[in-house]
Amino acid sequence: MEKEFTINVFSENYIGLLNRLTIIFTRRKINIESLTVSESHIKGIHCFTIVVKATESVVRKVVQQIEKVVDVLKAFYYTSDQIIFQEIALYKVPTAALTMGTGIEALVREHQARILEVTPEYTVIEKTGHKEETQNLMKKLKQYGLLEFIRSGRVAITKPMKELTVHLQEREMQYNYNN
């Protein structure tokens, strides 16, 4: 059965590596639902957070093939209950809508969003949360003349306590360094 998986890939920072990873998904005709790339807490190691919908058997094979990529150190996959994850969304509404009543202000409070910037023309609201939550606020802001909406890719922290460095040490233990 297909469900949502979050794949974390830790890699060296090489030009073109993202392309090498996406090829592994496109070969199997898997759509990437969300993608975030940033440097990890270890200098020089980058982390890709990739969200896909697929069966576990396929995701396991994909992750094995990702780990095979020369510049990848380690890849993991998680179901949604194994991670704490967030996405960030930004909304631009006309400032005039804010002055017409308390509707937007109430929405901001209710959705634990915050206002980032107010200009005479527009106001920018920020909300972090799961996709349904940011989506929900987007729908509600539409009635106030939502001008722009953008949502980031997912970022995720894993619940298991094992740190990447421990995984990497374990991995090194399983290998020799010469012929």
């Binding site: 095979k68 399983q174 360094y177 012929n179």
Partner: protein, 561 residues
Amino acid sequence: MKITGAEAVLLSLIEEGVDTIFGYPGGAIMPIYDALFDKKEQLNHILVRHEQGAVHAAEGYARIKGQVGVCVVTSGPGATNLVTGLADAMCDSIPLVCISGQVTSPLLGSDAFQETDVIGITMPVTKWNYQITEAGEIAEVMAKAFYVARTGRPGPVMIDIAKDAQFATVDFKYTKCTKLRSYLPFPKVQKKDIDAAVALINKADKPLILAGHGVLISHAERELLKFAEKTGTPVALTLLGLSAFPSSHPLYVGMLGMHGNIGPNVNTNKCDLIIAIGMRFDDRITSDLRTYAKQASVIHIEIDPSEVNKNVEANVKIVADAGEALRALLPKVKQANNSEWLESFREHDKVEYDRVISKKLEGTNPEIKMDEVVDLVCRLTNGDAVIVSDVGQNQMVAARNYKFTRPDSWVTSGGLGTMGFGLPAAIGAKIAAPEREVVLFAGDGGFQMTLQELGTVAQTGAVIKIIVLNNRFLGMVRQWQDMFFDKRYSFTEITSPDFVTLASAYGIKGRRVTSRDQLQDAIVEQMGSNESFLVEVMVEREDNVFPMVPSGENVSNVRLD
């Protein structure tokens, strides 16, 4: 002392022990070719007639020499012409380092003359690739390229070098790569996996070894022999594993796969334990996975972790080099003799001989069978030649009939099935092993895909014995049309030039065989020749290769006619 980037590339090759390169010059690679002019003593450059020829020759060279094959080509079409060979090497785990010239770095991305996105194009068909835009990167990148190409599961690496980086000067210091943080190619054999495997092996009554190319790559033929003998386990080989186990050995039960022998295919579904060594359960071996070896436990010895549990779930996974794993297993497995089980293969062999092989070889058929030709070559060369095949019926017939007596004697395109592979691969194989007889079996179709490399044969003087099995059809496709498409021979009839005349145009001797009474004489003359020699054999037009497990069917459903 400063040297140019172009010289740095060549010195890197020399540092890696390279003495032969296959290539074709062009604009963006000219600085490297200019530097090569002064390195002719150390680097033997083989000028091919098309870049595809260079990459297949490098593959043949790598397979027989057991070293990294090297290609040098120009940008744009030079580089794109390598793609088929890169894909081929990727499938068949062949170590290559291919170097392409690229437009000068300020022009990158501007659709300059002969610019293509080589890194983008080759990404899915290389183990690793990298674009060099500064001469200072050359030494480190070349070292990494060779390390990645030859270690772990070997594969092709593409290095694209901008022309300005070839011209620029640099202080050259070469250090071989011995470690990468992200890439660990030498897995340690885990004791718990060995113990679990030993437990399965020691209680098996009907074990079966499926040995593949990994055994040859690891040079584990002796370990395989010892292991099989101690445990009394029958050995079946994959197409790419041929020659890893002596075909005359009593424990050898034949080739697996679509056109393999009946015994190992049918008994895959009868054994109680599969010991898969250096093979990847390709669909031409497993056919229908839903019915494949469901009764058996599986031990999978494989150096590439992504192959384990990919197609067939293994009960015990040993992610390791084949030789290391076998050496760890050997002292722990108990002596066994499975003569009754082995006998069951012989019964299948008898059926196969009576129903298929005898008809192919007895020589009573009015027209020459392809099998007869291979069988004759096998007898004349005592099973000791390097056999190179093209792809199709000629390939299956060569694989089925040549009785290999020594390892590293078989060069074929397995995973990708690249028609046109044969002739250039044979050139590479001969240059790798000039002391050995190199025989190419090709069909009339595949031979015409790369026959311009006859020019390379002529210019290099590489002595190759070329046998074109001419049935005036694209035989394997015609066979499928015959069996599965109501004999609708859609565009499989093909005409050919007179191959003997063509060879003579290149200064290569040749003979044409149209009847059985000419065959022996022609092949004897060919094998006795100390020059390249082409024999075109007109064979039965609509001969089909059997046995056959039709694509996607249960491996037990072997068709014999």
